[in-house]
Assembly symmetry: C2
Homo-oligomer: 296 residues x 2
Amino acid sequence: MSFDHWDEIRTAYQVARMGTVSGAADVLGVHHATVIRHIDALEGRLGAKLFQRHARGYTPTEAGQDLLSVGSRADDQFTQLAGRIKGRGNEVTGDLIVTSINGLSGLLVPAMGEFQERHPDLRVQLVTDTRLFRMEYGEAHVAIRAGKPGDSPDNIVQPFCTSSVGLYATQAYVDAHGLPDDTNLDSHRFIGSTIENSRAPFLRWLTEQVPAECIVFRANELDTFRHAVRANMGIGFISRAEVREEDALVEVLPPMEEWSTKLWLVTHMDLHRTAKVQTFLRFLKEKVQDWPVEPA
Amino acid sequence: MSFDHWDEIRTAYQVARMGTVSGAADVLGVHHATVIRHIDALEGRLGAKLFQRHARGYTPTEAGQDLLSVGSRADDQFTQLAGRIKGRGNEVTGDLIVTSINGLSGLLVPAMGEFQERHPDLRVQLVTDTRLFRMEYGEAHVAIRAGKPGDSPDNIVQPFCTSSVGLYATQAYVDAHGLPDDTNLDSHRFIGSTIENSRAPFLRWLTEQVPAECIVFRANELDTFRHAVRANMGIGFISRAEVREEDALVEVLPPMEEWSTKLWLVTHMDLHRTAKVQTFLRFLKEKVQDWPVEPA
DNA sequence: TGGTTTATGTGCAGTGGCGCACGGAGTTAT
DNA sequence: ATAACTCCGTGCGCCACTGCACATAAACCA
């Protein structure tokens, strides 16, 4: 039910504005014959005369004047829209949605807060969820992911940093059970993951080195591990980035290289080149230097 | 500086609204390949992505959402405009500008007032001027003209009525100078036109029958003749339609057939078929039956 | 009055845009 | 698991639209 030929309205609008077919053709950058044909077609479609033709040009009828004002408004709107969109590629405004593994929230949130302060027109969101947010659906602008999530060709992946974990326990646990070493892991109590075949390297190590019966508590979130450790439930992996001095935890084994997880910055192709995403990526890479992680 | 390709905005708007290229193509009545090409071209022009492409369709980016709202407004505007224009051909609204020789004002004005009452959305204007109003410039919708003004093929001319004039004087004049007859016209005083070679038949008659020195007063408007006659300045032509009983004028010679002026209704081709003009013409032809003129 | 400018209007030829058909990829359903 | 469905993407051939050239008419100027 909507009107079909917007370009013809545009042509007629220019004719009404200029008063002549030739002038409109000049403005539109087309031949005046094209303008005449557009007007004729439009008038035929509408079943009414838009212009009175005479030797000095085209004078709009009442319908033509109506079209003139509607066309003028639309022209303004479209021009402004084009300006906004053309400019917006270079602006850092609107929403910035970041999705991340939740082990980084403690570092990401302050960083994003600072980024928002630098760009007051920006609204930042951090979404952490176990399910993979799909960037191709526009659910996030930037993702921080663990392990190489490289299958989709629409995603641009670049190394971010290496997050290392350590094996921690409370002093109370150590007092009760002693410190483990490579030979007596099976006489200790561990905290593990509910996920059977997790791809996280430290979880694979745990599965291989520690009998399942020694894993006395399981959770699906790394974040929960810390709470379990603090509750003296056993020995558990905690992200080194999340460990604070005041936690007073004991690192029960020296960290191993193979526990580390490489983290990747992922952006969707369509958004990667925008200033908003680029600025944020640059900011993140700068910020990561100060984090207790190994930058890539 | 204004944006050039309105049809592409329309296409992109429908894609943003539908969420899929196929859906938009269906609504637009074009092939989905055309939709893809429009989107690609528009994105290239704007230098920004409007949509994120994925297997389920196209999801608008922020720029695409901006376009969606602008496009939605434009679509509304254009649809309403088309509705107004399509309907307007059948409506009697807006302005109705009538131009006429001023000898008919006394009859036309009441008629136009009645016509306006019947069509409250209408604003009527009566313009009388010696210069010919040019209908092709949209200066008037309907013209009442004397003599066949037939040159322009864009004007539709139809007979309206025959306006007759009479030769009048006041009783005071007759008391002083007596009634003229065919033989002693040169011993009377006449009122004539300032226009040298008027095409009005009664003025031509005057020029031929009465010596110039007998024309003691000249005016360019027929309307002024009546005032001159009333002021006892002499014998003058007055439109029979304008003469009232209470004027107490004396018809000094029997009216001659050749004094009559044929009046024509003239409309511009572009406006002639509109309901507004047609309705008014019908109304006028009906009304003229009651006028003190001879209908055509 | 006659030449010049500026405007609209139209047949003709070329090209850009369109539909078509096919292929690929992802999602859903049985 | 496989089949059916839906949607996007692209090469190809054709048609409609465009630009061009020319005709025509009106207005302006000297």
